[in-house]
Amino acid sequence: MISVIPIQHILILTTLMFFIGVYGFLTRKNLITILMSTELILNSAAINFVAFNKYYYQGEMQGHFFSLFIIAIAAAEAAIAIAIIVNLFRNFRSVNVEEVDKMKY
């Protein structure tokens, strides 16, 4: 049953996921990989919602719905991000984040 897994384990997992996402966001040069890192960050937050709901607020649904919203938003965001990346590629012939710096000063 779920109760044999303490909540700390789940929180450690989500924390690791979150920082792996942040690390990927900061170090990867490929925009697609950066997008995947943001998904990791979002998902860690979604898991947290589900976990807290399950362990502390049994019988209520807000946490579940929040994670559903996060999934929906992540999907929409991915669609927009992919569209942006495609456009960037058309303009720069590259998806390297360091080369996309036209909007500086």
Binding site: V97, V100, K104, Y105
Partner: protein, 650 residues
Amino acid sequence: MEFSNTIWIPALPLIMFVILGLFGKKMPAIVAGFLGTAGIGIACLLSLLTAGKYFLDNTSGQYSPVIAWNTEWLSFTENLHIDLGGLLDPISVMMLVVITIVSLMVHIYSFGYMKGETGFAKFYAFLSLFSFSMLGLVLAPNIFQMYIFWELVGVSSYLLIGYYYQKPSAVAASKKAFIVTRFADLGFLIGILILSFDANTFEFSGIISYVVQASQEAPAENAFAFCGLSALTWGLLLVFTGGAGKSAMFPLHIWLPDAMEGPTPVSALIHAATMVVAGVYMVARLFPAFEAAAPEALLVVAWAGAFSSLFAAVIACTQTDIKRVLAYSTMSQIGYMMCALGVASQIEIPGNAEPVTLGFTASMFHLFTHAMFKALLFLGAGSVIHAVHNNDLKGMGQLRKFLPITHLTFLIACLAIAGIPPFAGFFSKDEILVAAFENNIILFSIEYFVAGLTAFYMFRLYFSIFWGNETNCHHTPHEAPLSMTIPLIFLAIGSIGAGFVPFGSFVTSSGKGFEAHMHWEIALPSIGIAVLGIAIAMAMYMKPSAAPEKLASRAGLLYRAAFRKFYIDEFYEFMTKRFVFNLISRPIAWFDRNVVDAGMNAVATVTNFVSVRIKGLQSGQLQQYAFVFVSGAIALGIIFIYMWVQSGKM
């Protein structure tokens, strides 16, 4: 009596100005000229009808002011509002007639004189603008409306002096005229503010009754006074400064001779007959206030007038430019009018029950007759210039054979201004001399001497043009066209007939007519000195002779000083260049460049420097931003955790 149709007198020239200003370029010159002339012609007719109705239909013998129309134009508060209206009283009705007649004559005359000039329609548009402004000025029932139109006549004068805008001297003259009169108008404005602040109204009637009342009461202990004069007297004197600027009184006269750069009809209309007498008119309009604040205010008026008339007459004797002689003559005659107002105290006249202010009537009378003969002189001079294409007396002579009509009318005008009976100037000048004689014997002697000088310089002009040497001209001079001679003849008739108008029964300061008589004990000596002046001029200039040069070298210093206009222009130039520029303008320019501008520049430089330094933050590197954001978030997190731990919650 109903006078609301007088609104059309200023409105018609305004409409013509708008039409000619907007569409003048597209219509043929003759149509433009005709439109302008028609506008002022109808206005002239209306003015004559108004004058007839006002003066002749009145059986009571008392001419009281009538507000013909009045609308609130700008409203600030209950008390502070500026109205536009039309005030009819003896002097404004008289001025309406003078302005529209002279303006009409100048409009007709300009058909011939300005023929073929570029901007013919523009000229008529400006003439219409001027006529409108001047008519609005004389009709003003409140001092603020007068000020508005006062500035408008200044603008139209500026535009017309600078009509030949490709000539640098004309441009300089128009600027000079505008700046000098504008400088004087500053005094006028301050005067208006003082008077209307105290009287709590802009209306002339309100201001006058306030000043009269205030001067009868004993001055309050805490009343404002400066240099021994009350605030009201200062207000009146400042208002007079504005009038002195417009009327070319010493020392603000320097613009008038230069204003002769404009076309000659303009000089006749603006700088002889109408605009330059605005100052006299304004003093006359406020005359009861000046009278009440006497003796200081009136004394200043009298001496400014007397000195200007003498000063200008001396200069006029030496000038060789035909129009400049006339300009100084104008200044001298306006000085006469001012002086007459200044000496207009109440005197007993035989045959009248009550004492009358003869000087007031005399001044207005002289204004009336002067407008006729001085406009005639200028138009005649224009006809001469038209014939020989030259302004300089030295190149003229013997023109009486070629210009018979101009010669005759010019002679009539010269006789009128010299004061020979039965021409108009004799009657008005006689009244002025009587008024001066009754008031102050020194002023009388100055004016008496100026009368002789006037006769001398006018006939010097006359003999130099029409007698003397042969004309030095490329072609035979020819008489002016009909459009120019008709106004000359009309004004010549005016110069003869105007003197017989019984002015005393119409135009007085109290509104009550009186019987004026000839004062032969003063008239005969004044005829004498005029004849003497003419005789001297005749001896010197009728035949070519060396007498003028001899006399000039005999007079030496005085002649040279008068020839250079007593170095007033040089003095002003010296003062402005040495003192105003060095002591005021340069420090202000320095302050502007080194404090105001430098302060702004410092702000800009600092901003620029800082932004160059920090613009590297905006690198365009997405991951750099993210790194900064994440590290900031972590740092904040650490801080909050630290504070949480410190607060002992854990």
